[in-house]
Amino acid sequence: MLSMKNISKVYQTEKVQTHALRDFNLNVDEGEFIAVTGPSGSGKTTFLNIAGMLEPFTGGDFMLDDVNVGTLSDNQRADLRNQKIGFIFQGFNLIPDLNLYENIEVPLRYRGIKSAERKRRIEECLEKVGLASRAKHLPQQLSGGQQQRVAIARALAGKPRFLLADEPTGNLDSLMARQVMELLEEINREGSTIIMVTHDSELARRAPRNIQVVDGQLADFTLYQNKAMDEIAAKAGQPAIEA
């Protein structure tokens, strides 16, 4: 469903050219859970941003569900993000002036979903992340882990096919991090495709497929950690390979 061929990304600043990605090739199938690791500055965020159509790429071909992303207009990309992609950010990125309910409502409003349907979905998602009783709270009244769960609820409310997460546990302690990871695994079991950038090797190992970005390129190694994960991967049509 996602395919990148020879994607490159060059940042042009006044004096320096940074090749954040070069000859980047990746295929992602429906239902996969991919953990992206790699050294700092290697291009993980750049890759995720391009995958999520948050920034343009400078070369190569990027197909998302048979749509050639390179040919889309700004509005088409915005609509596609809204319909197909859910984002989870390291800094949670909740809107401070809106309560939890209104925060989750944001992408639904952009999609033009009717009020009754919005309400149903928001309550369902808040329930799922265990914060149903907090709908009227403001983000700053929550702990980091709770905020990230709201952000996940916001990403889920639009029923996206793709969940893109850039260090979703980066600002959380290990207990909170594990809770968030469990939530993501559950979401993945229910069918969403997840790409998660992380620095936490323990969490990465729990993902069925690991990819490593080094110096803007994909270091090709895929590993599966345990039997349970193998089964999930098999269900998702991914061959299990022991590293």
């Binding site: 948050l54 809204n82 390291q90 992408p107």
Partner: protein, 401 residues
Amino acid sequence: MLEIKPVFSALLRSKAGAVMLLIQIALTTAIVSNAAFIINDRIDYLSQETGYPEDEIFSFTVKSFDPNLDISQKFEETETMLRNIPGVENAGLFNASPLSGSGSATGLSLAPASERGPDVRTAYYQADENALDILGLSVSQGRNFRADEVIVSQTRDVFPQVVIVSRALAKELFPEGDVLGQTVYFGSDPLEIIGIVELMKGPWLQDSKPDNVAIIPFVSASAFQHIIVRTQSEQRAAIMRQIEDLMLEDHGKRVIIGLKEMDVRKAEYNSSNTLMLRMLVVLIIVLLLVTALGIFGLTVFNINKRTKQIGTRRALGARKSAIINYFLVENAMICSIGVTIGSIGALFLGRVLLEHYSIPALDNMYILFTALFVIAISLLSVLMPANKAANISPSIATRSI
């Protein structure tokens, strides 16, 4: 897609800047609508028709200091001399200059003074049968003075028996029509109205009844005498330059003072009005500029504060137009509340001005137009920063912590 409710609840949770702006918009609306109304009122006043061809007329005062002079006799000759200057249409003695701010007024009544009837206040000019022609006027009804109706006298033993009045005075004296042939009383002297001039102004434009004017055919030459001259307009300046020499040539023992064009006299009389007008215009411009800058500044501030939020919204699927709409809706909310409060304030301010400063009652259309104008300015000032906000890259969402 306009998202009014979430914009409103977000606004309620961070009010400080919005409240400042709201107050500013309210004040601007209240002050600008009143100022604009006063400006328009003053412009109407300053540009009102006076009935006179102001650019053809000038006047001056002659001070005679020859004790042995037969003044009436001398001024007959002087008038003739003036009328014979090439370019001069007509000239003559007057008791006062129209529009100048100084002159004479009286009460005309329908009964002699002994009977104490109600009287009508009016300015009056005294001059000979040339008066209308000198002032560039003509009667619209009735007739002009005949030469034999003019009384030339140093005393008031004999007084004229006829008068020409302005339409406004005629209406006030006789609200029910027929005016010509009616008698009015100047003190105890009866005057028959023989002619009506549609429009002529008295010496005081700021008077509550500047249009009430009577012309009485009476010449009482004095040692301190006004003379009014009408010329061809393009010749006026040249004639004025030589007037002093010609007057002294005519008679040496006199001084010419206060030589001025009619339009200049009027402008001098109105100078405080003109000054106020300019100050109000400056006030309005400054207020509107400050408001526009305030809105611009607040929006820029809000956008800088919300860069990450905007990037996140874009990442979550907001089109650029949705971001612009957000700021427009937010601004429209602040603005409509501000304008509403400001309109109420304008009514209140208008009433205060009416009570204390004899300014006419504020026309509500001015509030409406000012409110619309403030809204337009407000939307224009928000447009540029909102556009900038829409161009914030969605990648900000992942790039900034």
